[in-house]
Symmetry: C2
Subunit: 279 residues, 2 copies
């Protein structure tokens, strides 16, 4: 959730049941981003679209995914004889280097190229610079709305004849922090992420294996918990979330311990839990 | 399960999780039949196929479904970059009147045309006539294997010179009953089913609504519990299983009561329960 826009990233089989179980209202979702077309990342999409239709959604929905998903969705709608009762816009993800795929007044989302067995995209959410905050204790009474907006933009105030009336820093407080979140779906260990994700607040990174399975991780284009932590440390991130654990690990604590040894501010992405990035 | 062949009919989202929950070994499934391409009847198929692949299945799988499913499966395998490690044969269901789609030594399966918003197929499973059973108490010691097989086929035994040696009925017991099962997926009330399903042992019939919603049932090409029971009674079936209940009914007892008032040998198809047809 950013500025009351709701983003769903990836949508495995049963996603609609899980959303319902955790009482996430599906009709609030405005944007769905699919990182790649392996089953565990998108097979819940059609069920979610059909449910939105049955619930008589009217609000537009934007879908960002590898281009091959377009015809798959179209064929499944056609096979069901369903013309969706809401506008669905499909945005094929651009092949190649990082690109901005969505930009609003408040945020920009760009792709993160990842290394996997099929074309796979990470997503970097960045809030745009926020306005300077008016310091109400110091605000003179004679300010117009234009004056106030100039202050929020960080500008000083001048009279019609060009004389300095007020210095911005005397009347304002520094803007709130612009937060950032990087979602790194399935990927082999990729040191380029360290520079690309410099200073990101929160990184979600897959950690399919423990480091003792590093060879298997590299063969299957996945990462180990330690490798995920190395990325977070190298990027100077504030926090790391691990996910996409192999079903072989009934106990996830060793994965967490392994990552924390490298990057202490690590947590596990547990189904149904929510994380808030403070401003 | 018929003669150790395992059939899966329809495969909604989450089917593989439910099969696992009820400890049904997915690799034993030999044949998957899909009645129609509404999401709740087939969106779990791809996940099941991918899982069979990950579990390194080698045994062939036969898939029977409306023809539009073929390219949908192919596109999804292609998008994932997956070449299945087991042979998957797709059999598009024949448009039009009832046809036999699968025949083995022991059974035949034919389609049942249904009335729904998209091309929809029911499936009628019929065991073939079974052999006469040798009555061990009466069997003379001088019978060859050929003699025994002739008896099982219901034939009398003659000497080389054409003289009657034994009358079949003196040495045999009547064959076991040939069982039959009709799966009637989503359909509007359709009286033609009564003649088509004459004498079937077990009918599964959808019962989306109570009869007070008959208008809504007919508008959406679904049936009421009472209508399902009328079909079973008209067909002279032995038993009726109701399923596909609207989510509006938290308590299913009224649906069962309504059907039993017309056809007492009715049960609800509850997830995870199994039904055996006695011979």
């Amino acid at each position: 959730v950013i500025e009351n826009r709701h983003f769903l990233i990836d949508c495995g089989e049963g996603a609609q049941m899980q959303l319902s179980r955790f009482q996430v209202p599906v009709q609030r979702i405005d944007h769905i981003l699919i990182s790649h077309l392996h089953g565990d990342h998108y097979l819940g999409l059609m069920g979610l679209l059909f449910s939105m239709h049955l619930l008589r959604r009217t609000k537009p929905l934007d879908l960002y995914a590898p281009h091959a998903l377009g015809p798959i969705v179209t064929a499944q709608l056609h096979a069901a004889g369903t013309a969706l009762c809401f506008p669905l816009t499909f945005h094929p993800l651009p092949v190649g280097p990082s690109q901005v795929i969505l930009e609003t007044d408040h945020i920009a989302i760009e792709t993160i190229p990842l290394l996997h067995r099929t074309p796979t995209y990470g997503f970097l959410f960045r809030e745009k610079p926020k306005p300077w905050r008016l310091n109400k204790a110091k605000l003179p009474p004679d300010l117009s709305w234009d004056d106030r907006n100039r202050l929020k933009e960080g500008k000083d105030l001048f009279s019609d004849t060009g004389q300095l009336r007020y210095t911005n820093r005397d009347l304002t407080l520094a803007p709130k922090k612009s937060r950032s979140y990087a979602y790194c779906s399935d990927t082999a260990y990729n040191e380029q992420l360290m520079s690309r994700l410099q200073g990101v607040d929160l990184i979600y990174h897959e950690a399919t294996f423990l480091d003792e399975k590093e060879l298997q991780a590299s063969k299957t284009f996945h990462s180990t918990a330690r490798q995920a932590a190395l990325i977070a440390r190298g990027a100077g991130a504030s926090r790391l979330l691990l996910g996409h654990f192999s079903a072989r690990y009934k106990d996830l604590q060793p994965l967490l311990d392994e990552a924390r040894a490298v990057f202490p501010a690590t947590d596990l992405a547990i189904e149904g839990e929510s994380f808030t990035l403070e401003e």
